[in-house]
């Protein structure tokens, strides 16, 4: 693998992904499209919370739910952004076979295809958080934010999610008829097991270990802590761990899942080549 090949693959895939994502309409409609969905998802939780709490948004649980949900946008965007490229190129545009014979590096190409959704996801996360601060009193004080921890966690998490996306892309290569569901089902399951919108203690005790094994659990916890430190630490789930300890766990799990993802992708890729699945279309 040459560095220049990887960079070219990534750069062109990112640009291609951006064009596919955005050029179906004018920029104004695209901007609305990109933020309406995540804002609506957040609004559902806000209304649910508001009904039960009688409009009291000052409890620690509210920023826990709101921020967890806001950053969870990245999970759907980055992870499925990478894996969906396989479905898009193979089934819809029927170009995956050409990508495979082009002088590019396929895993890097797929990672590049996730960039567009990372950008739109970032805008959605930003707007969701700003809306929370402005209208719902999410206790975010710019001066008190641990920016270093925030950016380190954010970057580490996005890389981890992209690699998980690669794992799903590998599985998608070998699967017919269910490929569209894989990303959504994984993101949906992680939403529950990562404690994105409720503390893990709410889960039945026998299910919690799954949550403790997921890197997204620690990623979301650290993001909350970096933004609203004391509020996030009030919940018992990971209260006994310091920021550094959680960062260490997140790093360890990210490396573990990263290695597994690369291995799974390579294996599935060779299976797909062997069985002639690269240019298979099912019309499902």
């Amino acid at each position: 693998m040459q560095t220049s090949t990887s960079w070219r693959s990534f750069r062109m895939a990112a640009w291609l992904g951006w064009l596919i994502e955005s050029n179906w309409t004018d920029p104004f409609l695209f901007a609305i499209y990109s933020i309406v969905k995540p804002l609506s998802g957040a609004a559902i939780l806000v209304i649910m919370y508001g009904i039960i709490s009688g409009g009291n948004f000052n409890t620690p649980l509210f920023p826990y739910i709101y921020l967890g949900n806001a950053f969870y946008i990245y999970v759907g965007a980055v992870m499925t952004g990478v894996s969906w490229a396989v479905v898009d190129d193979r089934e819809h545009y029927k170009t995956l076979k050409y990508m495979y014979i082009a002088p590019i590096y396929i895993p890097v190409y797929l990672l590049g295809r996730g960039v567009a959704r990372f950008i739109t996801g970032s805008i959605a996360v930003f707007i969701t958080i700003v809306a929370g601060v402005l209208f719902l009193k999410v206790p975010l004080h710019w001066a008190e934010i641990n920016w270093g921890l925030f950016f380190v966690t954010l970057i580490l998490g996005v890389v981890m999610l992209a690699l998980l996306g690669l794992l799903l892309a590998g599985i998608t290569l070998t699967v017919a008829r269910h490929e569209g569901f894989i990303g959504e089902a994984t993101a949906g399951a992680l939403y529950i097991f990562s404690g994105a919108v409720f503390p893990l203690d709410v889960l039945p005790e026998w299910i919690r270990p799954i949550g403790y094994f997921m890197p997204t659990t620690y990623w979301l916890e650290l993001l909350r802590r970096s933004l609203v430190g004391n509020v996030a630490q009030a919940f018992p789930t990971l209260a006994n761990f310091s920021n550094l300890q959680i960062l260490g766990i997140l790093l360890g799990l990210s490396i573990f899942f990263g290695v597994v993802s690369i291995w799974v992708f390579r294996y599935c890729d060779s299976v797909a080549r062997e069985r002639g699945l690269i240019d298979r279309t099912t019309n499902y």
Partner: protein, 289 residues
């Protein structure tokens, strides 16, 4: 020898009966509903995904309510909302977007050329989709009720049946209407269907009583049949449902009946328009990726 004779007969025999009029209309409905029902027998594993996906949402929202120590009826509201998402997703992806998919796969031109009514094709899609989705919705309801111990107290079975059937008629009428509209969107159809999920779950109160929204927002959202359908059903099957009702059940039944007629008539008008454009300009059936 016998085989050859049989083949020869089949080639020379005139049509014994050519179906036209209402008979053709009915046969078209059945023919289009058939693959919707049989398709899921051929791909049973899809059923798992179709049940699991809404269940993931249901579980997440139930656990949010549990974290907030919400009254138990709210858990029931979420389970019911989760079951009804199956119908909305079916209308969105398998009714509204269907003609767009058919165009992409090259079938739309055949539909328009065939001597049957496009309205019958859409009715068949609706009927088959409704029945197939009902099984998924029942599975989600049973699973959700079992997992979270939801109990129901039906106050009027007749009204409950009326509300459900009218909500389905209006919802699938809306789907038939949108099928033509989506066809006009071209490449935007997929994105429009994708967009009409979370905002509709929010506006229609899939996971909370619609009464919690400001009056005019709830009134505006009532154009989507599931909004009033779910509101009425919650009033009819949960003990505390009446205190969360947006309107009286009787009024909601009347509005749903009106919506059913309006949507189905509009669907017919739009379909005629689409067929006209397809024949005159040859543009609608052209697939552009």
């Amino acid at each position: 020898m016998n085989n050859q004779q049989g083949r020869g007969e089949a080639l020379t025999r005139p049509y014994s009966r050519k179906d036209i009029g209402w008979r053709l209309f009915l046969k078209t409905i059945i023919a289009r509903a058939y693959p919707r029902l049989i398709g899921q027998q051929r791909e049973v594993s899809w059923l798992v995904f179709d049940v699991v996906m809404p269940m993931l949402g249901v579980i997440a929202y139930v656990l949010v309510y549990r974290a907030l120590n919400a009254p138990e009826d709210y858990i029931g509201f979420v389970v019911m909302g989760g079951a009804m998402t199956a119908f909305w997703m079916n209308v969105l992806w398998s009714m509204s977007s269907q003609l767009y998919w058919e165009k992409e796969q090259g079938n739309l031109a055949l539909y328009i050329m065939a001597p049957n009514s496009m309205m019958a094709i859409l009715l068949g899609m609706a009927l088959g989709g409704m029945l197939a989705t009902a099984m998924r919705a029942v599975a989600v309801t049973l699973l959700g009720s079992f997992m979270f111990g939801v109990t129901y107290e039906v106050t009027s079975y007749f009204q409950l049946f009326s509300v459900f059937m009218l909500a389905m008629a209006a919802l699938y009428g809306m789907g038939m209407m949108m099928a033509s509209a989506f066809l006009l969107f071209g490449r935007e159809a997929w994105h429009m269907a994708n967009l009409a999920q979370e905002p509709i779950f929010l506006a229609s109160g899939f996971y909370f009583p619609i009464k919690s929204l400001p009056f005019w927002v709830a009134a505006g959202a009532s154009i989507i049949p599931l909004t009033l359908g779910m509101d009425a059903m919650r009033q009819l099957i949960f003990p505390s449902g009446f205190q969360f009702g947006f309107m009286t059940v009787r009024l909601e039944i009347i509005i749903l009946a009106v919506l059913s007629v309006v949507f189905i008539v509009t669907a017919k008008v739009l379909l005629a328009y689409i067929e006209k454009i397809a024949v005159r300009e040859g543009r609608i059936t052209e697939s552009r990726r």
